[in-house]
Structures are given as structure tokens and as C-alpha cells.
């Protein structure tokens, strides 16, 4: 059994990885948005996420206590050592794909950080409270666009429904609890993920209903992110992201 520091380290790292990988995806939208205002809006969300990633990496580095920095954690691990959920590494696709990913993730994060605010770990609780403000905005942004696209033109309706369907199989993983989760839940430090599932699903269902979209039928849910078993997409992202850190290991930037 891992000690409490190790458990919290893993937990912090997971939250950091989710934010870091998703921020990377959103940053890819920069100069590619459907119009200028939306380009800037997506960047704002990306910047919130980078800030969050940095905070959780800092805490993870501190908990680990081996002298690694937030940058070491963000840039110097291999594919199998990232613990983000698969959902956040999915490519941007078209705007509807990005909005569906944002919707699923931000609604999950909303309930997750609501709960984490009550963590007995002060740092987790404080970061959760700060994050929650940002997440509420991300959630409104995603829900509003889901409705506009779902109830817009025939073409947008189709694209939005397709996106909702395609990403559905990556949502199950969000509600898993492994040994780390269970141990932290038991001590009032972590979030009881499985208990968020029905809240999340009801919330999603309401948004989809307003958007005249249908909830996908249940199918097989992908899993693996928490064990560092990812999709093919992550490796390419890391190759690009880590290029300078890996090519010039002695350099400071």
C-alpha cells in the first residue's frame, strides 16, 4: 500500500495531466477558430487550464519531494507515464467535436471540483474552489454552443450529434475509481467518482434535450488513461510538445 504522500502525488498528477493535455488541444485552435471572437474564447479556456495544470504539477512535485519541477513533470515523462483521461487527448476534429469534448469534460469537472472543495487536504480544497469558478464558465460556453449547433442548421445538428456519439465511449472512464481513488475517498481526501455519474448524465441529458440532440445509446466504454495506456494520439502530441526539452536537455528556457 502506497503512503498518503504517494497517493496524493498520483492524484495531483492526474488532475494536472487532464488540464495540461486538454489545454494543449485547445491551444491548437489558436488562429484556427470559426471567427475571431471564438478564437479568443477558446484561448481563454486553454489559459485557465494551463494555470490549473501548473498549480497541480507544482503540488505534485512538492509531494514527491525529489526535486523535480512542474516543467519536469509536464515535459519529461513518456507516453505510459501520463495519467490523463483518454477524452482530453482526443483530437480537436471540427468545432462540434471540440465542443462535445468540452461539454463532457467541463460538466464532469464541475461536479468533480464541487466535491473536491470539501477535501480534507487544504491544497486540494483551495485549488478546487479556484478551479470551480473557471469550470463554470467553460461549462456555460460548451453548453451554449451545444445548443446553438444542435438547434442551428441541419448540417450543424448532424455534426453535433455525430460528435456527441463519437466521444461517448470515452466518458465512462471519468467515473472509474481505482485503488488510489478508493484509498483517498476513504480518508476524505479525494472525490467519489462513481457517485458523480448520474449527476453528470442528467446534466448532459438536459443540455442535449435543449439542443434537440439525443443521448447516445450505451455502448462499450474505453478505459486505460489512469494506467497510462493511451490512444495513438497522445504520443504524437508529446513528440511535438516535448521536442525542445528533449533535444536540448541541458538548456533552460
Amino acid at each position: 500500500m502506497a503512503n498518503i504522500h504517494e497517493l496524493k502525488y498520483t492524484y495531483s498528477l492526474r488532475m494536472a495531466d487532464n488540464a495540461w493535455i486538454l489545454s494543449h488541444r485547445l491551444s491548437e485552435w489558436c488562429s484556427n477558430g470559426p471567427f475571431l471572437e471564438e478564437d479568443l474564447a477558446l484561448t481563454n479556456i486553454a489559459l485557465d487550464l494551463i494555470g490549473r495544470a501548473q498549480a497541480f504539477y507544482n503540488y505534485a512535485a512538492e509531494l514527491e519531494g525529489k526535486g523535480r519541477t512542474a516543467d519536469d513533470l509536464a515535459y519529461r515523462r513518456n507516453e505510459r507515464q501520463y495519467y490523463n483521461n483518454l477524452l482530453v487527448e482526443m483530437p480537436n476534429g471540427n468545432f462540434a467535436d471540440t465542443i462535445a469534448r468540452q461539454l463532457y469534460m467541463s460538466v464532469y469537472e464541475y461536479y468533480f471540483f464541487m466535491s473536491l472543495q470539501n477535501s480534507k487536504d487544504e491544497t486540494f480544497a483551495a485549488l478546487a474552489a479556484k478551479t470551480l469558478k473557471e469550470v463554470k464558465y467553460h461549462m456555460a460556453h460548451a453548453a451554449d454552443w451545444t445548443v446553438r449547433l444542435g438547434d442551428g442548421t441541419e448540417e450543424s445538428h448532424e455534426k453535433m450529434q455525430q460528435a456527441i456519439n463519437n466521444l461517448w465511449m470515452y466518458t465512462g472512464e471519468l467515473f472509474e475509481a481505482d485503488e488510489t481513488d478508493t484509498a483517498l475517498i476513504a480518508q476524505g481526501l479525494g472525490v467519489d467518482n462513481p457517485s458523480l455519474h448520474s449527476l453528470w448524465e442528467t446534466h448532459i441529458k438536459n443540455v442535449l434535450e435543449e439542443a434537440k440532440l439525443s443521448l447516445p445509446a450505451a455502448n462499450y466504454m474505453q478505459t486505460g488513461g489512469r494506467k497510462g495506456v493511451h490512444t495513438e494520439h497522445l504520443g504524437h502530441m508529446l513528440g511535438e510538445m516535448q521536442y525542445l526539452q528533449r533535444a536540448y536537455p541541458d538548456a533552460k528556457w
Binding site: S27, E28, P34, E37, D71, T153, E155
Partner: protein, 318 residues
């Protein structure tokens, strides 16, 4: 209106307009203005807006490869600012009776220009430093001068832009300074970026005053407040010292301090290159416009959906 009174009224309005401009009054969107003034402003402001928007691309080229969390955060925030500045400027141009749709079309069909500098590629991370320090540094010299331009909305946009831009040049200089203190490879990278960006940065101020079209009206109407050469000299004077402090060499063997003028003299700018790139033969001219068109076309269905949703809601609420 009879044909012989119209010019008289026009003349009276023109002299009243010019009198106001001379007094330093700001001209506002609903004020009468000569057609040439309006046209000049639309051309200049939209070109300025397009430059900000196209300028997102060369820097955007490095977002996904930014080498630290901090670097990525800063770069993303900076590029976002550029987009915001494009937006402020499009809005200022819109007050003159041109729509954003029209401006985008002019950009994509090549009728409207953007700053030549963005037709150069960003090849290494040091280019991000060089752009912030040199390209933004050059732009700021110009923008500070434009804060006092005669057209109110343009002037207000420039005031806001200058306020926000103040961190841009510093972030670029910080990157260069950090690399010059780093490994030999980093120093080499920084000097290489300096060598490639120095001359194009000087070209940003446009042709020498003696060869500059559109200038006289622009001065009389106080759209432009300082000449190309004045601004270029100002930029060189402040940049030379900054380069020295961090140990970068300016790639101009003829650069030297002129005691008599109190300014630096510089070597001859390669104007053939300048005109070649303007005419479409820079490395990235086609790439930049293709990128812009792709994002624009890929987003068409999103904009159409937003419009359609609006119409449906309006029907529902009636």
C-alpha cells in the same frame, strides 16, 4: 441640389474639416469627412487589423512546441492579444462604413495587404524571442505615434493596444536574454534569429520618406504623425543598446553612431527584397492566406448555425 452649389458646400466642409484637424480635434464616425480621408483610413486600419490577425500564425507555429509551462502560457496570451488587437482595429474600421465580411474578403483576395514581416517563417524557438523583441518593438514605435492620430476610434484603439502591448516586447527580449545566458547552442540560435529578423524589422517602417506614396495627405490630416525614417531611426536607436546588453551582434557592419545627428546611421536596406516579398514572393505569402481561408471556410457552418439559431429563437419569442 444644383451642380454649381455642390462643390461650394463641399469646399466649405473641407476647410472646416481641415481646420478642426489642425486644431487637434478628433474626428468622430458621424462627422463629415473627405472621401479620401475615409478611404485612406479604411486602407490603413484594415491593413493594420489584418497584420495583427495574420501575425498570429508565425507565432502560433510554436505554441505546441513552447519549451516550458510558463513559455506556453505567455506565448498563448500574447497571440491572443494580437487577435484582440485585430478585433479592436476591425471595429474601428467598421465605424467608417466597411463591414468585417468585406475586409476579410479583401484580405483573402489580396486586395488588402498586411505587414510584410509575417511572410517570413519562424524556424526556431529563438524566432519567437526575435518577433517579440524586434517585430513588436518596431510595431510599438509606430503604434505609440498613432495614439494621437486624428480619427477618434482609431486613436482609442491604439491607446488600448499600446497599453496591452507593453508586455509583448519584454517577453521577446526576455527569451533572447535567457537564451544568450544559456548553452552555446542556444546562443547560436538567438544570434541566428537576430540575423534573420533584423533587416525585415527595419523594412516594417516602409520605404524611405523620399519614396513613400500616400504620405502628404496622411500628414496634413494627421492620420500619420511621424515619417517612416523618423520612426525607423527611433527604433534603431533604442534597440542597439538592448542588443549590446545581452551580447547580440546587429548584422549590419555599417551601423555606427553619428555624433552630429545624435542617431545611428545604418547600412542600405535591401529594397529589392522588400518589394519582392510585398509582391507575393516571400516564403510564406501563400501559406498565410491559405491558412486564413481554411479557418474561415471551416468555420462557415458554425457561423451559419449561430445565425440560424438566432432566427429560430426570434421566431419562438414573438
Amino acid at each position: 441640389m444644383s451642380s454649381n452649389t455642390a462643390p461650394a458646400i463641399e469646399d466649405a466642409r473641407l476647410s472646416k474639416f481641415e481646420e478642426r484637424v489642425q486644431k487637434g480635434d478628433a474626428i468622430e464616425p458621424r462627422d463629415w469627412m473627405p472621401e479620401a480621408y475615409r478611404k485612406h483610413l479604411i486602407r490603413q486600419i484594415s491593413q493594420h487589423a489584418h497584420s495583427e490577425v495574420i501575425g498570429m500564425q508565425p507565432e502560433g507555429n510554436w505554441i505546441t512546441r513552447a519549451p516550458s509551462i510558463r513559455a506556453k502560457q505567455i506565448l498563448l496570451a500574447k497571440i491572443q492579444d494580437e487577435g484582440g488587437h485585430g478585433l479592436y482595429l476591425y471595429s474601428a474600421a467598421e465605424t467608417l462604413g466597411i463591414s468585417r465580411e468585406e475586409m476579410i474578403e479583401q484580405l483573402q483576395t489580396g486586395k488588402a495587404k498586411y505587414s510584410n514581416i509575417f511572410n517570413y517563417p519562424t524556424l526556431t524557438w529563438a524566432d519567437i524571442g526575435a518577433i517579440g523583441w524586434l517585430v513588436d518593438g518596431a510595431a510599438i514605435v509606430n503604434q505609440v505615434s498613432l495614439q494621437r492620430t486624428s480619427y477618434g476610434p482609431y486613436s482609442r484603439a491604439m491607446v488600448r493596444i499600446c497599453k496591452e502591448e507593453s508586455f509583448h516586447q519584454r517577453q521577446g527580449y526576455e527569451i533572447m536574454a535567457m537564451m544568450m545566458k544559456g548553452t552555446p547552442e542556444q546562443r547560436e540560435m538567438a544570434q541566428d534569429a537576430m540575423n534573420r529578423w533584423w533587416w525585415p524589422s527595419l523594412m516594417m517602417f516602409g520605404p524611405h520618406d523620399s519614396d513613400s506614396p500616400h504620405s502628404s495627405d496622411a500628414f496634413r490630416w494627421k492620420i500619420k504623425r511621424h515619417s517612416n525614417d523618423e520612426l525607423r531611426t527611433k527604433f534603431i536607436d533604442k534597440t542597439v543598446q538592448q542588443a549590446e546588453v545581452i551580447g547580440l551582434t546587429i548584422p549590419d557592419p555599417e551601423l555606427k553612431w553619428n555624433e552630429a545627428t545624435g542617431h545611428y546611421d545604418h547600412g542600405e536596406i535591401n529594397w529589392d527584397e522588400f518589394y519582392r516579398v510585398i509582391q507575393g514572393n516571400g516564403q510564406c505569402n501563400k501559406q498565410r492566406i491559405a491558412h486564413h481561408k481554411k479557418a474561415h471556410n471551416d468555420g462557415a457552418w458554425v457561423r451559419a448555425a449561430a445565425e440560424a439559431y438566432k432566427v429560430k429563437q426570434a421566431v419562438k419569442n414573438n
